[in-house]
């Protein structure tokens, strides 16, 4: 390909300079936008922070029984031997913990969903209550 883009770019810059053009304009940073919540207040389960923590829990509930071994050859070998010797005890505990974690995450998700349903129901009931009060007030005013 024989397109000399460097030369074209230099020409464009030269042209801008010669015409005395300026790229001053409204900055994108000056446009407001709705920011995600950085931290939720206690009990708030509808914010972005809560969602992020839930996501973290879902992604991290599974624990590895063993970490990567570090050190020199002798040290790694020793650690490997110790790991082999403790495997019968460590592995079942970790797997049990993983089952527990998985269930906890599942319960937390169910509770979140149940809470959302309740929130929606309360909102609907509050609206209904407000409407009924308004009707009642209107009737009272008419009687007077």
């Amino acid at each position: 390909m024989n397109v000399n883009t460097e030369e074209i770019m230099a020409q464009i810059r030269q042209d801008i300079r010669e015409k005395g053009l300026s790229s001053d304009m409204l900055s994108f940073d000056d446009i407001p936008y709705s920011k995600p919540e950085q931290a939720d207040s206690a009990g708030d389960i509808s914010g972005e922070g809560y969602k992020a923590r839930m996501l973290w829990l879902k992604a991290h509930y599974y624990i590895q029984p063993y970490k990567q071994l570090a050190g020199n050859a002798v040290s790694v070998l020793t650690k490997k031997i110790v790991r082999k010797m403790t495997k019968f005890y460590v592995e079942p505990v970790v797997f049990e913990q993983n089952d527990f974690n998985a269930n906890m995450v599942s319960v937390a998700e169910s509770l979140t969903e149940a809470n959302r349903k309740l929130e929606r129901r309360i909102e609907a009931l509050e609206r209904e209550n407000a409407e009924l009060r308004e009707k009642l007030d209107t009737k009272r005013r008419k009687r007077k």
């Binding site: 397109v3 074209i8 770019m9 810059r13 994108f28 936008y33 709705s34 972005e48 992604a59 990567q68």
Partner: protein, 357 residues
Amino acid sequence: MRVVQLLPTISFGDAVSNDALALEKVIADMGYETGIYADIIGKRLPAGAARKTRKLTGLRSDDVIIYHKSTGTDLDYRLDRFRCRKMMIYHNITPPEFFSPYNGEAAALTAYGYEGLAHLKHRVDFCLADSEYNKRELVMRGFTCPIEVRPILIPFSDYDKAPDSAAMERFGDGRTNILFVGRIAPNKRQEDLIRAFYFYKKTDPTARLILAGSDAGFGNYSDRLKAYAKALGLEDVVFTGKISFPEILACYRTASVFLCMSAHEGFCVPLAEAMHFDVPVIALDTTAIAGTLGGSGFLINDSDPLFVSGVIERVVKDGELRQQLINGQRERLADFSYDKIRELFEKQLGKFIGREL
């Protein structure tokens, strides 16, 4: 011998899923027993295209898992359960700092993606990277296994389908269309496209900027972009939202120029798509962009909107330059042809299976 692919989610139309589906055929043609396994399987995929991860059992030590890595997932850790040889295809992860001002959840997910990547660095035996940029990132993150580059497989035959007629009519009205295809996301820097368009409109008042892509997860960023365009008095910025594949085809077919100001890309499939449709590409030199263009297109090194608008003007109005760019892009596109990538992948997989790496 089994050579299976594993990914967290497979869905219709996304680049990673398309890559996995195309590779499945290549692996099967090489004579290996194969299959795709995923935690989440999109409903629009044909029945049987993939199976649930939990059904992936009975792998032997000489079998191979090809793991597609592009996001945060606990699959990075569950991969340890499989006692077989592991190969990772790295499609890149968008750094969380791009997302955190707009979507904490998305930022947490990509941060988790990098944690997973760190976990995998001594646990995979071979890596394929979509681009040299992705390969450099793996090296920088401590991967010591052999790493080779293999561009993503793009199903170009799909692009010959008929475009959406209503969109063709809407955008094919002879006006200059500056196109960008990609989801509305902060790393794509759509605000820089709007800034350049603001100056370009002064020389071509009927021009149109088409931002084709879904804003799912980044509604607040999309709203901010719309408010920005409005504040600048720009009425011809089209936000298509999520559109059908024939509508995307219409966007490419009616585009005068493809402009990319993205700050982070692991490969950027839309660049290759624009090449396929003979749309001259102007792109800012960041991350994997230069590697994908491979010397074709018009690579710019400055995001100053006045300068970018000057480049657009040259490419739109200078017929000879346009043709030269298109010729260069056609040459580059040949490097992404199905046969070429297939041959490369067969060679790489063959070497891995034959333990030549």
